[in-house]
């Protein structure tokens, strides 16, 4: 599966390995390996089918098709596709999980009011 084409989409390909802090203000598609932290506050992260993330993730939306190990804080929504393997706690406003996805961790649905109050 290839990344959806978009002018504002940064891509990390299958053979790329990154260790450290990753932040930005555009959507990000990761099909390689990232270890550390990912912060895309107003944008979305997509973990492709070959993607392997070991990082805490903060983004507006998170779509997972590959492996993600770390806590996820999404201000809008999280989508776990059928091939997703996620180990970590998820905090978001909305979540969609396809049949077959694997999740080991807590799911915490936070309302807008709760978020604003910083609960």
């Amino acid at each position: 599966m290839s990344a959806p084409f978009s002018a504002d989409l940064a891509q990390i390909g299958k053979s790329v390995v990154i260790k450290g802090e990753l932040s930005g203000s555009e959507d990000l598609y990761v099909d390689g390996q990232v270890e550390g932290s990912i912060a895309l506050k107003g944008n979305s992260l997509t973990v492709g089918p070959h993607g392997q993330i070991k990082a805490s993730v903060e983004a507006k939306g998170v779509i997972v098709q590959g492996k993600l190990e770390g806590n996820v804080l999404a201000t809008d929504r999280v989508d776990l596709r059928k091939t997703a393997i996620v180990t970590g706690d998820i905090s978001t406003q909305r979540i969609a999980i396809e049949e077959g996805a694997y999740l080991k961790g807590k799911v915490d649905i936070q309302g807008r009011a709760e978020k604003a109050a910083g609960k």
Binding site: I95, I97, E99, L103, K106, V107
Partner: protein, 238 residues
């Protein structure tokens, strides 16, 4: 006439084996659960609960609890038990699973953390060497007064009784979906993954009532519900 022809063609198509099997949807059954009905009194209350679901990741269960303002933790203990690195030998040289290693990697929660643990049919399918250690850990992570729901087969169940994942549909209605293992869960250097069979999990044993009472002897109370489908539902209170 057209509909008769259509139905006849449907019948013909359904009797052609082979490739059709792969595209067939996984069989789902619905059952009423008295134990779940009893538990539902808890989640209809005002205070938010902390729920631990030990079955396969279920979107329905996550939705069910989060919509009611509860926190849900999901952890598939059966799939974790197929990890090849757990295979070891005991003092007699028997192949067993390393329960210490297993508990170091799974069920890592603070003591007295959960109000409810949904065990489903885990004890029946979990490897023998893990059952008691897991139940001990579950006792310690449950709050006093917290409840655990587990299902046990009766003696009429055969070793190939299918292992299901359980989706909560309503407060006392479950949808059961036969578990088909991920390919990678069956892979491993030793190949000695006890609980896994060709496409699912093997029933490891049948507990009688006395075994069940012994298994939960540290809990404050135990309640049995006998269901029609060769299953006893057990609700224990810590």
């Amino acid at each position: 006439m057209a509909s008769v022809t259509h139905n006849f063609m449907k019948l013909f198509r359904s009797s052609a084996g082979g490739q059709r099997e792969a595209s067939q949807p996984v069989q789902k059954l619905t059952r009423r659960s008295s134990g779940l009905g009893e538990l539902s009194r808890l989640w209809d209350g005002e205070s938010p609960l902390c729920v631990l679901d030990l079955g396969s990741t279920s979107p329905s269960n996550i939705r069910f609890f989060t919509e009611r303002g509860h926190k849900i933790y999901s952890e598939d203990l059966l799939v974790s038990s197929t990890e090849p690195g757990l295979v070891t030998k005991d003092e007699q040289g028997n192949v067993v699973l390393d329960s210490r290693k297993y508990l170091a990697e799974n069920l890592q929660y603070p003591a007295l953390h959960f109000d409810v643990v949904l065990c489903w049919n885990l004890p029946d399918y979990l490897d023998e060497s893990l059952v008691r250690p897991v139940m001990g850990r579950l006792w310690s992570v449950l709050k006093p007064g917290g409840m655990l729901l587990a299902f046990f087969h009766t003696k009429d169940a055969g070793p190939d009784s299918p292992c299901y994942r359980f989706h909560i549909l309503e407060k006392d209605v479950l949808e059961m979906q036969r578990i088909v293992l991920r390919r990678e869960a069956r892979r491993g250097p030793t190949g000695a993954i006890h609980t896994a069979i060709a496409d699912g999990f093997r029933l490891q044993r049948v507990f009688n009532n006395r075994h069940i009472e012994t298994l939960f002897r540290d809990f404050a109370s135990i309640k049995f519900f006998l269901a029609r489908d060769n299953v006893r539902e057990v609700l224990v209170v810590r």
